[in-house]
């Protein structure tokens, strides 16, 4: 019955769990049954009433003092003192979300590979995304299943060099005369002060760099003389094997392809997205991509392993945006578009 549906949708709306589709459906239903407006009014009131309903909850400030007294042995007097120097100011604090990386293993160790100096390595597990600040003030967003490393004395050197495996978005702090260089397995990018995204997962055939502002200079490793300069909103892609796609430039003799393209904002629904960089705002955006192409993206994003049983499903194409959906929610939504079934067990997804 429609009334029941209205109540159901209202409940979800109040809980903040209604999807855009459900909200639209609710609006339509309310148009048809204007009485439902009262339900919404009163429910809203009931809902909001709880926010100010704090009179009988003990004051947390006071509660904390008592708490500290009760468990005084757990709070060494020196604790805050000793860390004062290490603790950034409140302002820096908000930038330093990335400290969270401890969680994801951040350790310094002696690395033999690079001149033997100490190196900092940050890696983000699959299914997570993190941002943090480098010692020079550069902001970095690291995507799922990516690793970034740099020398411990990174900020003392003339050239700021980092190594990347995976995908990251850099908002580089401009420092005159001190270029910022990102090395990946196949391509390298040199900049002064810009914001750009670089995607170079070892398991992907394509390495990409997308520039949002400023300018960057990049080259394919091994042919450093052949430089490509990107202007804002341009995208550079380097593909290892021969493919049938058109290319503007072709590196001579090899079977590698270089593509330079404009980045067009993607319109999905009523919003515009930049596909290449929206991951850093926790959005997984894709346009007209086949399930086979989406597979590695999904595996990283949701931290799952996907296996497809029939090659046909791999050719299904999808356009969409996911934010906080779980893998089940995402695949369920995709089932509405193309017929397939899937089975989820722990970290494995089987698509039929």
């Amino acid at each position: 019955m429609d009334t029941n549906k209205i109540i159901e949708l209202l409940a979800r709306k109040m809980a903040g769990e209604a999807t855009a589709e459900e909200l639209k459906q609710l609006d339509e239903l309310i148009l048809r049954y204007p009485d439902a407006v009262y339900y919404e009014e009163i429910l809203k009131e009931i809902w909001e009433a709880s926010a100010g309903n704090a009179e009988d909850v003990p004051d947390p400030g006071q509660a904390y003092l008592l708490h500290q007294l009760k468990y005084h042995q757990d709070f060494p007097v020196q604790a805050d003192h000793a860390t004062k120097s290490a603790e950034p100011s409140e302002n820096m604090f908000s930038l330093a979300v990335g400290m969270l990386i401890v969680l994801l293993v951040c350790f310094t160790y002696w690395n033999v590979r690079d001149k033997g100096g100490p190196e900092i390595r940050i890696s983000v597990a699959k299914g997570m995304r993190r941002n943090f600040v480098l010692p020079d003030g550069t902001l970095v967003w690291l995507n799922s299943g990516s690793k970034l490393s740099y020398a411990a004395d990174f900020n003392q050197k003339d050239a700021r060099k980092v190594h990347l495996e995976g995908e990251a978005f850099f908002d580089v702090k401009h420092l005159a005369g001190r270029p910022f260089i990102v090395h990946t397995e196949k391509i390298s990018v040199k900049v002064l002060g810009t914001a750009f995204n670089i995607q170079a997962y070892p398991e992907d055939r394509t390495s990409e760099a997308t520039l949002l502002r400023g300018s960057i200079e990049l080259y394919v490793n091994g042919s450093a003389k052949q430089k490509v300069i990107l202007s804002p909103s341009e995208k550079f892609a380097f593909r290892e094997e021969r493919s049938r796609q058109k290319s503007n430039i072709r590196t001579k003799g090899t079977r590698n392809l270089i593509l330079i393209d404009h980045v067009k904002p993607l319109k999905i629904g009523s919003s515009e997205y930049i596909e290449e960089t929206s991951w850093k705002d926790n959005r997984l955006v894709f346009k007209n991509e086949s399930l086979a192409e989406l597979k590695p993206k999904f595996e990283r994003w949701f931290n799952v392993k996907i296996s497809m049983e029939s090659p046909l499903t791999g050719t299904y194409r999808f356009t969409g945006v996911f934010t906080k959906e779980s893998i089940t929610e995402a695949l369920t939504a995709m089932q509405l578009i193309k017929p397939f079934t899937f089975k989820l067990s722990a970290h494995d997804v089987i698509i039929h």
């Binding site: 809980a15 009262y38 429910l43 708490h67």
Partner: protein, 188 residues
């Protein structure tokens, strides 16, 4: 209430990284009121609820080295609160264990500002009566989502039920409320 509290993830990272007591104090202020309320509705005693909420917080502090490995510390703290509260209720009882279902939960519909016209004393009574017959889990779901603004997923984790069940519980609770409104205002 709305003083700009830094977000949970930042606090946790500071607690884990720097043993920062300052960050812990902020975390305490952020979580304690919700935890207290949650414990209070399970334990029905101010003292017990205060004690349990304190125990939850100190558990977080003592585990601070591993806190950043936890995906959702808010949910984690609620789960600890749930377990500790059940422990308190089971303390001294040898035989029958108390489960969440056995606890009487009350939904209060207090309106803080007196100028609210729609929900007057009588209607409020009726609404509260209507909801009192709901199963305990429905009421808990309603409370957690409404009072603490938790998501379906978080609520599901805390109460150890599925997201679908959370939705069903919430819809049931809201239906009960609207049934009263329907009779009261002669709506469709």
């Amino acid at each position: 209430m709305s003083t700009s509290l830094p977000n949970l993830a930042e606090l946790i990272s500071h607690i884990t990284l720097y043993n920062s007591e300052k960050a812990y104090r902020q975390l305490f202020k952020l979580l304690y009121p919700s935890l207290y309320r949650f414990c209070h509705c399970l334990l029905k005693s101010r003292e017990l609820a205060e004690e349990t909420a304190n125990d939850v917080m100190i558990t977080l502090w003592r585990n601070r080295q591993h806190l950043s490995e936890i995906q959702n510390v808010r949910v984690y703290s609620f789960v600890i609160a749930r377990n500790l509260s059940l422990n308190v209720l089971n303390r001294g009882r040898k035989r029958d264990m108390v489960a969440l279902e056995d606890i009487m939960i009350e939904i209060e519909l207090d309106t803080p500002n007196p100028e609210q016209l729609l929900i007057n004393g009588e209607l409020k009574k009726k609404l509260e009566n209507a909801t009192s017959a709901l199963p305990a889990r429905s009421k808990l779901v309603f409370k957690l989502i409404r009072e603490d603004g938790l998501s379906y997923k978080e609520t599901a984790e805390i109460l150890n039920i599925s997201v679908k069940t959370v939705d069903a519980h919430l819809v049931t609770a809201v239906k009960k409320l609207t049934a009263i409104l329907k009779a009261e205002f002669k709506l469709m």
